[in-house]
Subunit: 117 residues, 2 copies
DNA sequence: TTGACATATATAGATTATCTATATAAAATG
DNA sequence: CATTTTATATAGATAATCTATATATGTCAA
């Protein structure tokens, strides 16, 4: 199923921070890993990702470094800072509250229907 | 907790359609009911709601009518059409898939962490 | 070995769903 | 009678995506 892009808004940054909590990654890798873990629900665009990474680095949430693996081309790796970890915690809590609230509305049973005025 | 507004994107229309599934409502009432049911997580702005209602009506998802209750002022009520009901079903399914995918990423245990390259 | 495709990063400009601010008017409240 | 709340409406700003485009390296098949 193709989900509406607009739903992504606001959670993309959280997802990126979460990936980096597990270990340093480079941009293109994040796109691949995110697609794989979400069963292709998230097909993050390069044009979306890179500006977000630049912004997060500018705000001190991430730090980047060039690294060239043996027999691989050089890539730009990103590392989650302590500040970034705190942002991840905050955003995860927001996500939980947000989904709880939406589900409370959406999963309301028709039996509890208010009387029509 | 004040959740980031950007998270709302994409789900507002679904929430509105859901309210109308239970019975006809007028705009201002939707704002109140949504706040109440979400424990004030959703404080939908009038300036957000009314343009959405106009758009949904233009697209045939809703129908509106003026109605004056005994001893009340006249209000503009909205009714969910069959087309609107189908949209609600589609959007609810999208919501389920989207949250499932986000949670799959966010709730990944650190124990399953990939080896750092 | 060359041309096409995949990998990898980057940015400008468009799109879209919110927001704020503002307007109007009726009804309630003090 | 003045202020606040209820109720609807729209213009313009903001913000997070998107598409399109650019550049360069590495891989693979013809």
């Amino acid at each position: 199923m193709v989900i509406d892009r607009s739903l992504l808004t606001g959670s993309t940054t959280t997802l990126i921070l979460k990936l980096l909590e597990e270990g340093d990654m480079y941009g293109y890798q994040m796109i691949e890993v995110l697609a794989e873990r979400s069963d292709d629900t998230f097909q993050l665009r390069a044009g979306t990702l890179y500006p977000i990474l630049h912004g997060l680095e500018k705000d001190g949430m991430l730090e980047s470094y060039e690294w060239k693996e043996e027999g691989e081309r050089a890539r730009k790796y990103y590392h989650l800072t302590v500040k970034g970890k705190k942002l991840l915690e905050k955003k995860t809590a927001e996500w939980e509250e947000y989904t709880r609230a939406v589900n409370k509305v959406l999963r309301r049973r028709k039996e509890y229907e208010t009387v029509q005025r």
